[in-house]
């Protein structure tokens, strides 16, 4: 019969991979270890999907209270965030634009990031342009099916702020995957918390 430690090992690679969508490698390993430790040593033993869901909730909570906390006071205003996001869209979109001879500063094929060749590579590049809390919001919304309300709770901000965060960040990643349709984040949504393996 597997032990609690084996339970924790069973979800660690998946959880670290999830955390790497939001923070860099070392922080992801650290957060994933902390989260599985907490969940695996709870009084009630969780298994399978329940364990993964609980571990991801814990990791998201740790990130939201740590490296992916929404900046207060010195943070960018909503308008500035939107502008930054628009700049990011331009940069990402520009990277795929056909180059002409007049583009004297266009990088040579050797200089271009090889990740631009694939969808997930472009998504990675787009995520790098976002702040950790924006990445956490986008991963929670698009991958995990978390509602805007719950993202607000997770980040400790009002719903309206959560909507603005998503609206500011979504175009960057949407454009990266070749889609320019942005969901209406302010619309009431059903909570569909899913575990994507």
């Amino acid at each position: 019969m597997p032990t609690r430690v084996q339970d924790a090992r069973g979800v660690l690679t998946w959880l670290t991979a999830w955390a790497r969508l939001i923070v860099e490698e070392d922080a992801a390993v650290d957060v994933a270890n902390q989260a599985v430790t907490r969940v695996a040593s709870r009084r009630k033993r969780l298994r399978g999907t329940d364990l993964k869901l609980a571990a991801r909730h814990e990791a998201a909570r740790l990130l939201a209270h740590g490296v992916a906390a929404v900046p207060t006071g010195h943070g960018l205003s909503a308008g500035a965030q939107a502008s930054a996001a628009e700049s990011a869209i331009f940069e990402v979109a520009n990277a795929y634009a056909p180059r002409t001879a007049s583009h004297n500063h266009a990088p040579s094929p050797q200089e271009r990031d090889p990740r631009e060749q694939t969808t997930i590579g472009r998504l990675e590049i787009a995520l790098e342009k976002l702040a950790p809390y924006e990445r956490l919001a986008c991963v929670s919304y698009f991958l995990d099916g978390v509602s805007t309300d719950a993202i607000g709770s997770l980040l400790g901000v009002p719903r309206e702020r959560a909507v603005r965060i998503l609206e500011g960040a979504a175009p960057t990643i949407a454009r990266a995957v070749g889609d320019d349709t942005i969901p209406d984040f302010s619309a009431a949504t059903e909570e569909v918390d899913v575990v994507t393996l």
């Binding site: 270890n33 969780l46 709770s153 990643i173 969901p183 918390d193």
Partner: protein
């Protein structure tokens, strides 16, 4: 819809990231093993405590006409150890979780930010049915609002208590007043169901302000306001022990540390005051040994220790949830004839029924 494309892209990236295996750190392995081992040690210790408490209670019963007063120092070890029990020790004045979240708020403060989900529980508001009186159509009464607590996952939460879910009346982002909801409720074994507070009528006459000591009318004008629910939900050894000992029908008002049955009076087992409190079924921590043999009061330390079945304490937590706002019309009671008659007939509606267990939950609890 781009959400699907984005979900697929994120899923691909997630799978790609999983190509790199992660190893559980030595610290994590040790921590998990230590915590699990500590819990087992605690359970074994609890078995010892159960035996000691049983012995102590027995001494109390045999100790003379003043009963539990003698139930203090256990002298002999385990009588009959029982697996599955543990001992909860908590202050006679109660743990901090029993203070309602509302008591930390004041009229004029900024409204708390919505925080409707935590620890797999959600708090939402919904319009309730108007109260009906006789043949009066319910639709003519004032608006009622009820708070709903739901589990958002299927994970078993065990016995979840609340120190009260109350309502805040908000205007321009500022707290303008408060409306009492349900008070302390001890045992809400959600079991996948939902739990609601009593319906509260949206009458400006019932809106108050409190500084934690004095309660004054908020003197709001009738009109449209935002209403939010705020409440603390928790599961602690104390709440589980109290719920198992007291059940959920007892008068739990005095479990709130901010209330005292009589501040100048001592409530201890065997003392006249505990006997006096019996008829009104008030839950007083100092009187627990009058109710169960498994409770012992330590007067010197100001604590009481009670044994409880561990199965209802799944995961200790304490969370303050704040619902999203609901826009409602608050009316004056004199403007609503039906409402006035209903109000007078029913008296204080806010404390009529305590928490209402609904549907399959009722069956599960039975």
């Amino acid at each position: 819809m781009s959400s699907d494309n984005l979900h697929d892209a994120f899923a691909l990236l997630l799978r790609s990231n999983q190509g790199k295996r992660a190893a559980l750190s030595t610290v994590a392995v040790r921590t998990i093993r230590r915590r699990v081992a500590t819990r087992w040690t605690g359970r074994l210790g609890a078995v010892v405590a159960v035996g000691m408490l049983g012995t102590a209670a027995l001494h109390g019963v045999e100790g003379g006409s003043d009963g539990g007063h003698s139930a203090t120092a256990p002298a002999s070890p385990i009588a009959t150890p029982t697996i599955g029990f543990a001992a909860a020790t908590f202050p006679l004045t109660g743990g901090p979780e029993f203070v309602p979240a509302l008591s930390e708020l004041r009229c004029g403060d900024p409204a708390p930010a919505p925080h409707p989900v935590e620890h797999d529980l959600s708090l939402t508001l919904r319009l309730g049915k108007a109260f009906a009186l006789g043949d009066q159509p319910a639709s003519e009464g004032p608006t009622t609002v009820e708070a709903v607590v739901r589990e958002v996952t299927v994970a078993n939460q065990g016995a979840v208590a609340t120190s009260g879910v109350d309502f805040l009346v908000i205007q321009d982002g500022v707290i303008r007043g408060m409306i009492s909801g349900g008070g302390v409720a001890l045992a809400q074994n959600l079991g996948g169901g939902t739990v609601t507070t009593p319906r509260s009528q949206m009458l400006v006459d019932g809106v108050f302000c409190s500084d934690g000591q004095e309660v004054t009318p908020a003197n709001l004008a009738p009109g449209t306001y935002d209403v939010i629910a705020v409440g603390r939900l928790f599961s602690t050894a104390e709440s589980v022990a109290l719920s198992q000992t007291l059940g959920d029908t007892i008068n739990t008002m005095y479990l709130n540390p901010n209330y005292s049955a009589d501040p100048a009076t001592l409530y201890l087992p065997g003392i006249y005051n505990c006997k006096q409190a019996r008829p009104w079924r008030a839950a007083l921590r100092g009187c627990l040994p009058e109710i169960t043999n498994s409770a012992v009061v330590d007067e010197a330390r100001g604590t009481v220790t009670v044994t409880y079945r561990v199965k209802d304490l799944v995961d200790q937590f304490s969370a303050v949830l704040v619902s999203d706002p609901l826009t409602v019309d608050l009316v004056a009671s004199q403007d609503v004839a039906v409402a006035t008659s209903t109000w007078r007939s029913l008296g204080s509606l806010n404390s009529v029924e305590g928490f209402t267990v609904r549907g399959d939950l009722a069956a599960a609890s039975a």
